[in-house]
Point group: C3
Chain length 299, copies 3
C-alpha cells in the first residue's frame, strides 16, 4: 500500500528531521571518515515499512564538505548481509579497486583528493545500482568553489526516490525500471521540512546546495515566493548576483534544473517574513514528497 | 477514451487558436489586470470532454508582459465552485497572504514588482497543484531583459499536459502521478498551430518565448529546418547571435531544453519559404500534440 | 519477452560493436554520401528479434563529420517497403522539399551547408516519428567548433531507446507513448562497450561527443571515476579546461545533461589504468543498456 501525502506528512511530523544545514568549513586539509554500512527496516508511514541500506545509519549518508585540494580518507565497513561499495564522484581515480564491492565483514580504504569544486554525488555502486541507491545508499560531497559570495544561511538538500516493494522489503524493481516512484524526498524523508521547516530571518541571504541522487528522476528546484539571483550548476555560474551570462540588467531564475547525479547551488534573499515552500516543480513529484518549507522570521 | 492524434488535429482545425503573438510593449509602469476564475467543460475532441479551470476563460491565462521595474496589480476573483489561488513566479514576496486560497465569491489583490527579467510561470497553487495546473490554471509573465536584439516576429508558447479522467471530469490523478499524459499542448490545445500556422516572412528574424508549465513533462523545443543562433534560459544567454559562451566561430543550438516551470527564448532567421514544424523533440510528446507549424511566406 | 540485462550483455558479447571512434577530419569542403534505407530483422538477444529500419544498414546511421562551412550532399535511396525521409538538424532550410517522405524505390537529393558548430541529430521524419526513430533511423553530424583543444582520443556515443513489440515486429507504440523503454543503448546495442570496451592509455585526454537521439529519454552522461574538466553543449562551453563560467579556481562536472535531440561533448584526462564505466546516470536506463566501459591501459 502506498501511503498518501497526508500519511507521509503525519509520519514526517513525528520523525526527527535529517539535518539540512551546511556546517561551517574548518581548516583541515585531510578529512577522515568511517562509513559503516548497515541494513534496517524503516517505517515510512504508519503500517508501511521498507528496507533501508545506509552509510552510518542515515539516508542520505554523511555530508562531506571541503575545499579544492583537500584529501578525503574514508574507511568503508560493511556490516550488512550482502556486498556493498562506494563511488565518490568527487574524486578522480580508476574505479577498479576503490569502488569494488566488499563482502559482509570486510572493510576498504578509499582515498581521494578533491581536485574540482562541485556538489558531487556518492553512492553504492554494487549492482543493481538502482536498488542500492533507492534503498538509501547515497550522499553528497560539497567542494566549495573559490570566492563564494557571503551568505547568512546554507542548506543542503538531496533529492531521492523510493519505489515501495513488499512491506518490509526492498525497492520494487519493476517500479524502478519504469521510473515511476511512490515517494520522492529531500534528505530521505518525504515532506519532513513541512513539519520541521528550515529557518532564516528577514534580510538573510540563503544558499541551497542541491543534489539529485536519483536513481532516476529529474529535479526542477523552486522556492515559492523567491527568485534565484545566483545559480551555479556543475562547475559554472549561469546567473550571479542578478547578472546573467551575456545579459544586461537584473535577471534571475525560477528553478535550478538537475538530472540524476547533477548538483549545484542557488542563492536568494528574503525580504518578508513568511512560509516559503521549496519544491520539485515537477508537481507530481512534489506531491509525492519533494516539498518542504523555509520559514522566514522577522529579523 | 483518449483521442487519437488525427482526432485532436481535426478538433484543432475547427477551434479558434489561442493567440501566440507577443503584443508590443507599451510604456506603462503599472499594469493592472483582473483575473476571474471560472470552471467549465471543454470539448477536447468530438465526444471527449474535460473540465477546465481557467483565469479569464482561457488556458493559458492572460499573457503578462513588461519590463524590469514594472508593478503588476492583479485582482483575483473566484467565480468557481471551489477554492483557487495564484502564484506569480515573477514576483518576490512571502507567499502566505498573496498566494492564499480564496473561496468561491471571494477576491484578492495581488501586487508584485518585476525585479528580474525572465519568462516566469504563474499558476493556481491550491492543492493538489498538479490538478489545478493540469486543469488549466497557468500562464506566463514575460519580463524582457534589457538590450534585446531587434526581431521581426515574436511568439509565446506555453507547454502543458492533460491527463484525461472521466468524460466531462477533471484530471485523472493516477495518470498525473505517473506523469504519463494523454495530451500535450502548446498554448492549451493540441496541434492548434498545425491547423492555424504561425506566420513569418522570408528574411524575418523570429523570437519564440517558451515556458514549460508542466505540471510534469520536460520540453526539448526544436524548430524543424531551423537552428537557434540565440538561446536565453532562466536569466542567461548560452548562445547569442551565433556566438556561444567560450566558443570561437559560428555556433548554434538545435533545442531549448526546459524542465517544468522553466522558461526562456530562442531566435532564428528564416531564409526560405516553407512550413517549419516546431515540436517538443521528445517525440512521443510531440505526437500527443506538442507540435505546430511556422509558415514562412515569400517576402 | 523483454531480455534481461544478462541476456543483453551476452548478445553484445557475440555481436560486432558499432565503431565509436571519431575518424580524423580530412580537408574536404564538399562531403557526399548515399544513404540507402533498408528494413531488416535484428536479433536483440537470443530468441528476441525486432524490426530495424536503417540508413546504410546500421543504427545509428553513418557518422557525418565536418567543419563550419562544409557542404553535405546526401542522396537518400529508399529500398524499404514504406515511405521514409530524412531531417538533418545540421542544416538550415525549408523542410518542405528536402525532408519530404519518399516512396519505396524513390531517391532524393538533400544538400545542406553546415553553418554552425554542433552535435546535430538526423532522423527519419516520416510519421509517426517515434516509430521511425525507435526502429533505428537516426544518427549524428559532428560539426566541430573552431579552436578545439587537442585530445588524444575521440569517441561518439548516440543514445537511443527501444520499445519491443511482437517478436520480429516494430516498436510497441503504447510503450513508446508512455516513454518507458525496454532497452536503452549507446550506438544501437545495449551494453556493447562492456563486452568490447573503448580504449585509451594513461595520460590520454579523451573527448566524448554525445547525442541523445531519443525518441524520448533524457541522458545524464557520466564516466565513473572521471570528472569532466570541459563541457560543451548546444553551442556553448559551461566549463573549459577546469575553468567554469564566472567561477574562480578549478572546477568540473559529473554529468553532461541532454534532453532528446541535444548534443555536446565532454573531455577528461585519465591518470590511472583501469576500467571506467560510462553510463546514463538515470540508473534504470543504465541498467537497460546505456552503459559501457572505457578501458584505460598503462601508457
Ligand atoms: Cu550497496
Ligand atoms: Cu485552482
Ligand atoms: Cu510555481
Ligand atoms: Cu522512416
Ligand atoms: Cu529532429
Ligand atoms: Cu555515480
Ligand atoms: Na566517480
Ligand atoms: Na545582467
Ligand atoms: Na513565486
Ligand atoms: Na562563437
Ligand atoms: Na532540421
Ligand atoms: Na575556474
Ligand atoms: Zn557511480
Ligand atoms: Zn508556520
Ligand atoms: Zn506546497
Ligand atoms: Zn508555485
Ligand atoms: Zn500550408
Ligand atoms: Zn511534424
Ligand atoms: Zn526532425
Ligand atoms: Zn578488462
Ligand atoms: Zn557499471
Amino acid at each position: 500500500p502506498v501511503p498518501s501525502a497526508a500519511e507521509l506528512q503525519a509520519a514526517a511530523a513525528s520523525a526527527t528531521p535529517h539535518p539540512a544545514e551546511l556546517p561551517p568549513l574548518d581548516d583541515a586539509t585531510v578529512r577522515r571518515y568511517t562509513f559503516t554500512v548497515t541494513e534496517a527496516v524503516q517505517e515510512v508511514a504508519p503500517g508501511v515499512t521498507r528496507v533501508v541500506w545506509t552509510y552510518n545509519g542515515s539516508s542520505p549518508g554523511p555530508l562531506l564538505h571541503g575545499r579544492v585540494g583537500d584529501t578525503f580518507e574514508i574507511t568503508l565497513v560493511n556490516e550488512g548481509t550482502m556486498g556493498h561499495s562506494i563511488d565518490f564522484h568527487a574524486g578522480e581515480l580508476a574505479p577498479d579497486e576503490p569502488m569494488r564491492t566488499i563482502e559482509p565483514g570486510a572493510r576498504l580504504q578509499y582515498t581521494f583528493t578533491a581536485d574540482r569544486a562541485g556538489v558531487w554525488m556518492y553512492h553504492c555502486s554494487t549492482m543493481p545500482m538502482s536498488q542500492h541507491i533507492a534503498n538509501g545508499m547515497f550522499g553528497a560531497v560539497v567542494i566549495e568553489p573559490a570566492n563564494l559570495d557571503p551568505v547568512d544561511r546554507q542548506f543542503v538538500l538531496v533529492q531521492s526516490e523510493q519505489y515501495l516493494g513488499a512491506d518490509g522489503g526492498p525497492t520494487d524493481a519493476t517500479k524502478a525500471a519504469a521510473a515511476i516512484p511512490d515517494i520522492v524526498t529531500f534528505n530521505g524523508r518525504a515532506f519532513q521540512y513541512d513539519a520541521h521547516p528550515l529557518t532564516a530571518a528577514v534580510g538573510d541571504r540563503v544558499r541551497f546546495w542541491v543534489l539529485d541522487a536519483g536513481p532516476n528522476a529529474a529535479l526542477s528546484f523552486h522556492v515559492v515566493g523567491g527568485q534565484f539571483d545566483t545559480v551555479w550548476t556543475e562547475g559554472a555560474y549561469s546567473v550571479r548576483g542578478g547578472t546573467g551570462a551575456g545579459t544586461a540588467g537584473t535577471t534571475g531564475a525560477q528553478t535550478l534544473p538537475l538530472l540524476a547525479a547533477q548538483g549545484g547551488f542557488v542563492e536568494l534573499a528574503l525580504r518578508e517574513a513568511g512560509h516559503y515552500p521549496f519544491v520539485n516543480h515537477q508537481m507530481s513529484l512534489a506531491e509525492k514528497g519533494a516539498h518542504g518549507v523555509l520559514l522566514v522570521e522577522p529579523a
